[in-house]
């Protein structure tokens, strides 16, 4: 890859696309410098990442039902933030953790707690994984999502104890049913005080402090000892390294994962060095083409085109394409590429592309490139500096410049709906 292609790759995989002109600026800066700024923004004086929900007022009724209007506002703030973030990789990693923990607002059903959960993921996105797990374990949304809030010494609920090991850290085969029970017992006693803004409390009478044997380690009896025991297990580093490699590179080759897991362990489970190693591996040729999920597809398209999409329309697009931010369909996270290639997702993507093209402002460079038939320029503006496939170029050439309301609009719609834009 040349420098421009490398930076475009970083923008597609590790960021949320780039606005017109940004690829030129970053190419001048160079790949190494761009990677540094993505992974360690603090060291380069990049403005801090604000919560998308800063200053949002929640008018929640006593029953805790989230209101449709607030939900829409929260989604709109999230999508807008992703398309404009000064720290795209932090948000990219926060999205990775959102997919990893898969807490769904449909289950939590209390928007302020869901927002607090997402803010936690954003704050700790590039931090220490051990600290992230510790915080998530006693996070109100998670305590409700996987039943920790109703787990008592008398009747421990195994839901979180299981998923902590199966999905969040070790993977199946690395723990036993007895380990699930041991973790569940040791984590009992937490409550979510729904009448008090969902504050998390610990009620000693609901906790069973009997020392448990977890993964062969004795004396486990509370959050700290559970988290430390689970994360001291070597499978944890391997699982997270593998998942990150699959997510960003589309490649979970065992030798690569082993190397990345070594980086992660040596860094005491700090996420930033692992993330950097993953991206460096990608730039060194360990990346394979991947199918983009609807949320990054939409955000990147909006960023490239400067299209202005009404919140309701954006949410309808994502619902029709099959990915709602904040609502993974199950505890396994968002589904894989097969779902994004389904007929309903594909049809919805075509329809969305038409709307994005129609909402692209007159002065947007993509529109001029499309009208002028400058396919190399159009591809570059859409973060594909290596150009479109021959099939897409031929298809674009068959669309008259005048197709659509304004010159280039129809061609832009076809480019946005093309397979080239679905593959990152």
């Amino acid at each position: 890859m040349d420098k421009r292609s490398e930076i475009a790759w970083l923008a597609r995989r590790a960021g949320w696309g780039l606005a017109p002109g940004e690829l030129d600026e970053l190419t001048t800066l160079g790949t190494g410098a761009v990677l540094d700024r993505l992974v360690a923004p603090d060291s380069f004086g990049v403005a801090p990442n604000e919560s998308p929900w800063n200053g949002m007022k929640f008018a929640v009724d006593p029953k805790g039902r989230q209101r449709a209007e607030e939900n829409l506002e929260a989604l709109n703030r999230w999508l807008t933030h992703l398309a404009t973030s000064p720290r795209p990789f932090e948000d990219s990693m926060a999205w990775f953790w959102h997919d990893h923990f898969a807490v769904s607002s449909a289950v939590v059903n209390y928007l302020p707690a869901m927002v607090a959960h997402l803010e936690l993921l954003q704050r700790r996105a590039l931090g220490n994984f051990r600290e992230l797990i510790r915080a998530v374990t006693v996070d109100a949304a998670m305590l409700v999502f996987l039943d920790g809030a109703t787990s008592t010494g008398r009747s421990p609920n195994e839901n979180y104890g299981r998923e902590l090991q199966e999905l969040y850290t070790l993977g199946i085969g690395n723990y036993t049913e007895a380990d699930v029970r041991a973790a569940a017992v040791a984590l009992t006693g937490y409550v979510v005080r729904r009448r008090d803004d969902w504050k998390v409390g610990f009620v000693p009478q609901r906790h069973d402090d009997t020392p448990q044997v977890l993964l062969g380690v004795g004396g486990v009896h509370d959050v700290d000892t559970v988290v430390d025991t689970v994360l001291d297990h070597p499978a944890a580093a391997t699982r997270i390294a593998g998942k990150m490699a699959a997510h960003f590179l589309g490649n979970a080759d065992p030798a690569l994962v082993k190397e990345l897991a070594g980086v992660f362990s040596d860094a005491s489970l700090e996420s930033a060095p692992l993330a950097r190693a993953v991206l460096e591996a990608g730039l060194a040729g360990e990346s394979v083409p991947i199918v983009m999920a609807p949320v990054p597809w939409l955000v990147q398209a909006v960023r490239s085109t400067s299209a202005v999409i009404e919140p309701r329309v954006a949410v309808a697009m994502l619902r029709n394409m099959g990915q709602m931010p904040g609502q993974p369909p199950n505890v396994g996270g968002y589904p894989g590429s097969a779902t994004w290639l389904s007929s309903s997702s594909t049809a919805a993507r075509f329809s969305a592309a038409g709307i994005i093209a129609a909402r692209t402002p007159d002065e947007a460079p993509v529109l001029a490139a499309a009208a002028g038939g400058d396919w190399a320029d159009l591809a570059d503006l859409l973060m594909r500096p290596d150009g479109f496939s021959a099939a897409t170029r031929a298809a674009l050439s068959d669309v008259a410049a005048s197709t659509g309301g304004r010159p280039g609009e129809g061609r832009l719609a076809v480019a946005l709906s093309s397979p080239d834009l679905l593959i990152a």
Binding site: S104, V107, D147, N159, E163, E166, L167, G171, I172, G250, V288, P289, I290, V291, R319, N320, G322, P329, N330, V331, G332, G333, P335, S337, A338, T339, L341, S342, S343, S344, S345, T346, A347, A348, F350, S351, G354, A358, S389, A390, A391, T392, A394, A395, L396, D398, V399, A400, T403, G404, G405, E409, G410, A413, V414, S417, S418, P419, D420, I423
Partner: protein
């Protein structure tokens, strides 16, 4: 919205193909794509099924299960089985002082002590001819009381949440021949997670409204859809890019073939077609899809609202009425169309409800549930499994039948390989006639 026939007519020269079947255009495209990349590859599934519909003498060498279609109806929320098929026992009356269905309202069922909820009246005739059966006390070990986790377990066909695949998606993976054909499995307003596979594709429809190739008013739809199709060929040598390309003709095909089916399937009094707001439309659409003969082997239908924590009498009455109207209308239609011998319908719900009533005129989440099966191949005039109200499990109907036993028979009926799909061998309890 452009209609395929208009499109092909406008494009010229392919009108004949359009008459022969809307799938031909995409099939041709896919075929040429495939030939251009792998000369020795076998014909795609889609192509062969479409060929079968235009040939009167279907080849007899195919597996007997080849033209079968399974319809899975998901009753989401946890249906109260106890008030759906009512047992003739005083224990029922004791447990349900308020919610118990009066004996005079019950629909009798020959050769069994159970009776049906009055709203299931349209299903009575199917029971009486032996084309309907039920399984009591059904569940999956370790299923949760959480809707969400338990639904995952049922969709996956096992207690592990790690697998993102569904039991029917794994069946499609195992039986896939050539390129994935998304029309083999269609989810209508629910049930999609059952169809998720590793290599196979499914068509997941949330609503007729979403399943369209829409263009903005000012644009030339024909030209844009033609260009969209053109981006799919020639196919790339990269697998991800090739998959993204192949999804396009498959989609244009599916929208063309099914878009009208979905929008025209609206039940009376609702013009929207398949959607959460019109549950009966999905049953109408399912019957039409089967009659189209496009090789669809699995259809899921999502019904919502069974989580009756309160006001259960009125709510469940309406819900079961919808189910009965939908299923019975569907069975009537496939009988009329001559497909009845090749179709099996099963219901599923993530759990049963507690035996005791709660204080809100409803019931809370329980364990063992109730499942229905319809079709000529069911073992009728008998309720399978066991409803043991004398030995409750923490106040719940105990789970006596592992749902995967039922899945196993259904997968056998579809042609297997059953044990491979379910990860182990489950006892066949005889819900279907072998």
């Amino acid at each position: 919205m452009l209609n395929r026939r208009q499109f092909l007519g406008a494009a010229g020269g392919l009108a004949g193909a359009a008459v022969a079947g809307g799938g031909v255009w995409a099939a041709l495209l896919r075929d040429s794509v495939e030939k251009s990349t792998s000369p020795g590859a076998s014909t795609t599934t889609t192509t062969s099924t479409i060929a079968a519909t235009t040939t009167t003498a279907a080849p007899t060498t195919t597996l007997p299960s080849g033209n079968r279609t399974l319809v899975v109806v998901q009753m989401a929320g946890g249906n109260d089985g106890l008030n759906t098929l009512i047992p003739a026992t005083g224990l029922y009356r004791d447990a349900r002082p308020i919610l118990g269905i009066p004996e005079t309202d019950l629909i009798e069922m020959s050769k069994t002590d159970y009776s049906m909820h009055p709203s299931l009246e349209p299903l009575g005739k199917w029971w009486e001819i032996g084309s309907m059966t039920a399984v009591e006390g059904v569940g999956i070990p370790q299923q949760s009381r959480s809707h969400f986790k338990s639904t995952d377990t049922w969709m996956a066909g096992g207690p592990s949440a790690t697998s993102r695949s569904g039991w029917l998606g794994r069946w499609m993976d195992a039986t896939q021949d050539g390129d994935p054909d998304p029309l083999r499995a269609i989810a209508l307003a629910g049930g999609g997670p059952m169809l998720v596979g590793e290599s196979s594709l499914a068509t997941v429809i949330q609503s007729a409204e979403a399943f369209q190739l829409r263009t903005t008013d000012s644009t030339d739809a024909e030209s844009l859809i033609a260009a969209f199709l053109a981006t799919a060929s020639p196919v790339s040598s990269d697998p991800a890019m090739a998959a993204a390309q192949q999804a396009i003709p498959a989609t244009v095909d599916a929208v063309d073939l099914l878009g009208e089916v979905f929008s025209e399937s609206a039940s009376e009094g609702n013009g929207r077609g398949v959607s959460r707001a019109d549950p009966v439309a999905a049953f109408n659409a399912a019957a039409r899809i089967i009659d189209l003969g496009i090789g669809t082997q699995v259809i899921t239908i999502g019904l919502n609202g069974y989580d009756t924590h309160s006001n259960q009498l009125a709510r469940q009455s309406e819900l079961l009425g919808t189910l009965a109207t939908g299923v019975s209308g569907f069975l009537d239609q496939i009988e009329a169309d001559g497909h009845a011998e090749n179709v099996l319908v099963i219901t599923m719900s993530e759990f049963g409800r507690r035996v005791g009533e709660n204080g809100s005129g409803g019931t809370d989440h329980g364990q063992g549930g109730l499942q229905f099966l319809f079709g000529r191949d069911v073992n009728g005039w008998d309720v399978h499994g066991e409803l043991d109200l004398a030995n409750l499990a923490n106040g719940d109907v105990p789970t006596k039948v592992d749902e995967r036993s039922v899945y196993a028979e259904v997968l056998d009926w579809l042609g297997g390989p059953t044990d491979e799909i379910l990860g182990q061998s489950f006892e066949r309890i005889g819900v279907l006639s072998a």
